[in-house]
Amino acid sequence: MGMGKRILACMAAVLVLLPVHAMAVPAPADVELGDVANDDGSALAVSWNWNGTPAESDLFSFEVRINEQLLDHFALTERQQKTLTDARSWLVGQIADVLTQRDAAKAEMDAAQSALDQAILDKEPDGTINQKRHEYWQKYRVHKRLDHQVNRLHNAFSARTYAGEDLRLKALTWEFLNEALRSGKEWISVADPAPMASVGTRGDRSDLFGVNSASRADAGMLFYTFDTISVPNPGTADSSDEATGLEQFRAIPVRLVPDIEYQVRMSTFGTVPANPMFPEAEAGGPQLADVVQIGTAAPIGNAFDKSKLNNLIFALLFGGIILTFIILARRNPNMFIRRIAGLEAVDEAIGRATEMGKPVMYLCGLQSLSELSTLAAINILGRVAGKIADYESDLIVPNRDPVVQTVAQEVVKEGYATAGRPDAYREDNIFFLTDDQFSFTAATCGIMMRDKPAAIFLMGYYYAESLLLAETGADTGAIQIAGTDAEHQLPFFIVTCDYTLIGEELYAASAYLSREPMLLGSLKGQDIAKAFMMAIILLQAILFIFSAQWDVLRDLVTPL
């Protein structure tokens, strides 16, 4: 025991040392952006924030305030000022446009609705009412889409928003930026982790604002973005009107190293002749025009990453369900599992084999006993053995693993005993062939050709040899029943066997027969989670019938 205690102490030390070790290694952390404070304590452009959802009027005062602060605080060149002002007015114009459109759409929608109401009141023919209803839904959708667009645009305004306390960065995508460039507007834009020369030529990704780790040596040349985002390739992107309205903006989480000071910059795009700062940039095309340093900021780590809330809820809920059902299954192992059609096919096959007076062959797969699929095969073997004992036929079980062979012998013996025919059990029929994959296959195929079993069961995990086994079995004219979770082999089994237990069905059959609390509880727990997913899909379908745009469900399950 002295030795044991010492080892115990070592083990305990390991557990303690792991976190200590972790703390000892200085490495850049990967953290959600917390509160951003400025070096001089002033409210700079980075700390634009407000609480709650702002009213639309806030939108404009908010935007103006930012830029005024910016202009006040930094000695911007005239050009930079102009760029910023232009960009701002462009954005403001965009929003104003969309707002006008949306209000018009709202008016149209309301008109359509009252027309519909009137039609119903006037008891007009069904055809007319239906047409009015259709018109109303169309207007409703247009309005809804524009409403979304307003929200998205509004989010694009801010580098970060507080939605409650949840912090997110909104970024602009390629299409939007390109449109801006094409329309000749100068545009507040996009930082890029690549060297300056390539900024702006990058095809498929762009962020609104960038930060640069101030601690990096060549901070001037490296412009490090908050994050990079992937946008659908312009060549393949969905260019329908709804997509351009809604999918232009994408929320991405900000990942910064806490307690490290970052330079925060704003870069502007424009058609410039030549820029002394970036001589590599070619004249004429849309190029990076200016980079404005607007301050420094150091993020503070949060205690909990709120963007991962839906993840936590799902993991906790599902974990809890699984554990609960395992406990319940321990108390009551007779939980309901539906009939597994494959198991009935098993009984039928054995019956037919007996009629023909030929043996039955059973394989437990090629993996070791520790694998779930092998265990499932063993459980089903127990059932098969019981049935065979009833019918008085022979059961041949060639094995690849001596351990599996021993367990198979026990299971079959028990099956025969339970059926009241212990005398019919023959140990020699459950034998070890060879551990070698292809030699095992060749030998098993040999037995199939020689003994011509009437039924062949291929349960458990198989590799490439599945095809050889199933082909030979089909050639002998046997009834074949397979069950495997080897996804690549399943198609081969389906076309060569009379019945196939597909993937999870094998586990379910095993749980059904063995009533093992762990298997049963997990199966039921997973069923609950599946029911949850199916409910969401069903709900989405119902919502689709009633209104085409409904993102709530999707937002609920979208990882942030």
Binding site: H21, F314, F438, Q549, T558, P559
Partner: protein, 212 residues
């Protein structure tokens, strides 16, 4: 001029290839010899790879060059794992496996939810857009995912409506297995083509005088 080692090697390689091909005639000693030779070579190869790419750089070099002695703890745990082949000491390996498998279960759990489960679910709920064709496809996807889930749902008997939906599910599953099947056939044939290409190209190395 082709080096002698290459000529000899190519002869051996082609010989071994034919030896493995002899299995299509039947299981024979030549194939068994080849299979066992392969097993020995591969085991020797893997031992080398594991040593030179893991233990040598991460343990020995880390201690010698970076003076990082923390690596001793996982090394001891690793040695515990090797003790599994000695039955009386095999229980020690449980500590290492517990740390590795237990920790990893915790590490991967939220990431599976974040990176696989939720995106796949949320993509099924995509907004419907892009004209009649894509919308119909969207609806088919929704129906197919739903009915496949029903097929693998074990808490309801497959009767009446549920039975019909699960029949629909099996239709989609079969089409997808068909796609896999077609692709699997393609893969096996590609491998055969690769071997034939090798044999055909080796001709000039095996018989150097045939090179023009």
């Amino acid at each position: 001029m082709i080096p002698a080692g290459e000529v000899l090697g190519t002869w051996i390689a082609v010989g071994l290839t034919l030896m493995m091909f002899s299995f299509i005639y039947k299981d024979n000693p030549a194939f068994k010899f080849g299979e066992h030779l392969y097993l020995g070579i591969s085991v020797g190869y893997y031992v080398n790879i594991q040593y030179w790419s893991t233990i040598y750089p991460l343990v020995f070099q880390a201690m010698k060059q970076q003076h990082n002695y923390w690596v001793l703890i996982p090394t001891i745990l690793g040695i515990f794992i090797l003790l599994r082949i000695i039955p009386s000491m095999s229980w020690l390996s449980r500590m290492a496996f517990a740390l590795y498998i237990g920790g990893f279960a915790g590490y991967s759990l939220p990431l599976i939810v974040h990176s696989l489960l939720l995106p796949q679910l949320s993509q099924t709920l995509q907004p419907y857009s892009g004209g009649p064709g894509p919308v119909i496809n969207q609806i088919i996807i929704l129906v197919a995912v739903f009915s496949t889930l029903i097929y693998f749902f074990f808490s309801l008997e497959h009767r009446r409506t549920v039975g019909m939906i699960s029949r629909l599910g099996i239709v989609f599953i079969m089409v997808s297995f068909g796609a896999s099947f077609g692709y699997t056939v393609m893969a096996r044939i590609s491998l055969l083509i690769g071997r034939f290409q090798y044999i055909i190209e080796s001709g000039h190395i095996m018989f150097p005088w045939t090179r023009s």
